[in-house]
């Protein structure tokens, strides 16, 4: 298990996945407050003519809270795409390129292969979310003013991390089924966005993984019960999808040409 974890960590570093993920989310985290502080007022000013920037600020709420919330919104819309396509080959590529054949014959178990990917990349994604959310909190605090406590922001980062775990389990499940990286990315996004879409139609969002981001957006104003009610179904989904991936692996034919 330890050697498998070391292997996944080495892969994250040497393949540049860690840099891509951290870089992408930090870019979003830094650019969102900048957009709110400078770009958005400029656009509105040019559109509305004689209205001054100060008036605009009173017309639309622009502060640390709004900026951080906007970043969390981006995590669902843009972040999901970044994660789906930068990690789509995590398992699918290993299957299609037959790189798992020798490890499997050497005794690596299916659960170990999937479990270590979940553990290492889950940790990386969760940390990246926490760091990025904290970065946007600090930067928007510097640009506007510090109106939020750091505690709810960290909780918000953790909730996003759990959402990322769901995204990862989805990538692994589709990776074993589709066995091709890019279609795996699309299937993952279709699942994530599809669930969100259906959830909003039937008013069930709070029981779905995307509900975690809605809770994260509340910045601590949601109750613990509400948060637990969203986390629980997501955790169940993560476990089910991970088990489905392991079960599907058992039925695969390996070393296909």
């Amino acid at each position: 298990m330890r050697s498998s974890m070391a292997k996944e960590w080495t892969y994250a570093i040497r393949s540049g996945r860690l840099v891509v993920l951290l870089g992408s989310f930090l870019f979003l985290a830094i650019s969102t407050p900048l957009m709110y502080k400078f770009v958005l007022p400029m656009i509105l000013e040019s559109q509305l003519g004689q209205v001054s920037g100060q008036d605009l600020a009173t017309m639309i709420n622009m502060g640390q809270r709004e900026s951080t919330q906007s970043y969390i919104g981006d995590v669902f819309e843009i972040g999901s795409i970044v994660v789906a396509f930068s990690l789509c080959g995590l398992l699918a590529q290993e299957i299609s390129e037959n790189t798992l054949v020798i490890p499997l014959c050497s005794g690596k178990r299916y659960g170990e292969v999937i479990g270590t990917k979940m553990l290492v990349f889950g940790l990386i994604l969760s940390l990246v979310q926490c760091i990025s959310t904290f970065a946007t909190y600090v930067y928007s605090g510097l640009l506007f003013s510090f109106e939020l406590d750091p505690g709810p922001v960290i909780i918000s980062g953790i909730l996003q991390g759990v959402y990322m775990l769901f995204l990862l389990s989805c990538i692994l499940m589709w990776g074993v089924s589709v066995k091709r990286p890019i279609p795996t990315g699309f299937a993952t996004l279709a699942t994530v966005y599809g669930m969100h879409f259906l959830g909003s139609i039937f008013n069930m969002e709070k029981y779905l993984p995307s509900g975690l981001l809605i809770e994260a957006n509340k910045m601590g104003s949601g109750s613990i019960l509400q948060i637990a009610g969203t986390i629980l179904p997501t955790v169940v989904l993560i476990v089910l999808m991970t088990l489905a991936a392991v079960a599907r692996m058992k039925g695969l034919t390996w070393n296909e040409r």
Binding site: A6, Y11, V101, P103, C105, S106, T253
Partner: protein
């Protein structure tokens, strides 16, 4: 060690294996040969637990392959035809990963055994196919398995590397291991194998100890190179001689397999003189596995 009975396998309606039967005894080196696309890799994949047969029964290392939940349960060492590794890992890291990082001394031993000790810290992405093949052999040996299944272990290697791999296979036999390997290099089989299995039309057409096979097919082969083009009429006449068992046209001339009659050379020469053909060389050789193989697969 391996027992396969009536193994069937199809891909998209195309039958590849049509009732393969095999017996590999403990401690022997079994050479598995067949034409390209005959189904050697498919058979070895099934034996390694990587693929399930459509029908039939297979027992490897004392375990029914249809009952195992994981290829690792067979406790074999397996080398795929084209070993694929993580290109971003080093040779050392790969073996350490496969062996759970237990024994760095053993990692070094394995790398030395396959001649990769100087490339231990080199990324596999920069390795040649031959180097990957060597690393694949080291990986197959990393579990100390009693049974090794090697798919074309020497095919990507240069002559020196090939000789080293064959020596390695022979030395492993001395440690009590059972080895089954597929190849298209028949001289390799002749050199190291105890038993040979020839796959033809999805079945093992011949499975015999190599000595017995050679004894049964005892005879002489005449390699005759002629000046100018070989006429079809002449070939027909030679083929019609009583002593001739088989005949193949080659770049260097013709190869004629005879039944071992002491008058065969005279009969052949007579036919050549009668047709007024100029002969450049006329060499008499012992029948090799190649002739036996070609005879069996009717690849003439």
């Amino acid at each position: 060690m391996i027992m396969a009975r009536n193994i069937h396998k199809s891909f998209g309606g195309k039958k590849v294996l049509n009732g393969v039967n095999m017996n590999v005894r403990e401690g022997e080196i079994y050479g598995f040969i067949g034409q390209n696309g005959a189904g050697k890799t498919t058979t070895l994949n099934i034996l390694a637990g990587l693929s399930r047969p459509d029908g039939g029964y297979c027992r490897v290392n004392g375990k029914d392959t249809s009952l195992i939940g994981h290829p690792g349960d067979l406790k074999i060492g397996y080398l795929p035809e084209e070993p694929r590794f993580y290109p971003w890992m080093t040779a050392w890291e790969t073996l350490e990963y496969l062996m759970e990082g237990k024994d760095s001394e053993k990692v070094l031993d394995l790398l030395c055994m396959v001649g990769l000790e100087k490339h231990a810290e080199g990324r596999i992405g920069g390795f040649s196919r031959g180097m990957k093949q060597r690393l694949g052999i080291a990986a197959a040996l990393s579990r100390d398995s009693k049974l090794l299944i090697l798919d074309e272990p020497s095919s990507a290697l240069d002559p020196e590397g090939r000789a080293q791999v064959l020596d390695l296979i022979l030395s492993l036999k001395g440690t009590g291991r059972t080895i089954i390997f597929s190849t298209h290099i028949l001289s390799d089989v002749e050199r190291v194998c105890d038993t040979v299995g020839i796959l033809r039309d999805g079945v093992v057409a011949v499975e015999k100890p190599i000595r017995e096979l050679k004894r049964l097919n005892d005879g002489w082969v005449y390699v005759i190179s002629l000046e100018g083009k070989v006429e079809k009429e002449l070939l027909g006449k030679i083929r019609g001689l009583d002593c001739v068992v088989d005949l193949w046209e080659r770049e260097e001339g013709i190869r004629v397999k005879t039944n071992g009659s002491s008058l065969a050379s005279l009969e052949l020469m007579g036919a050549l003189v009668e047709n007024q053909v100029k002969v450049e060389t006329f060499i008499k050789e012992r029948s090799s596995l190649e002739e036996i193989f070609l005879q069996e697969v009717s690849f003439k």
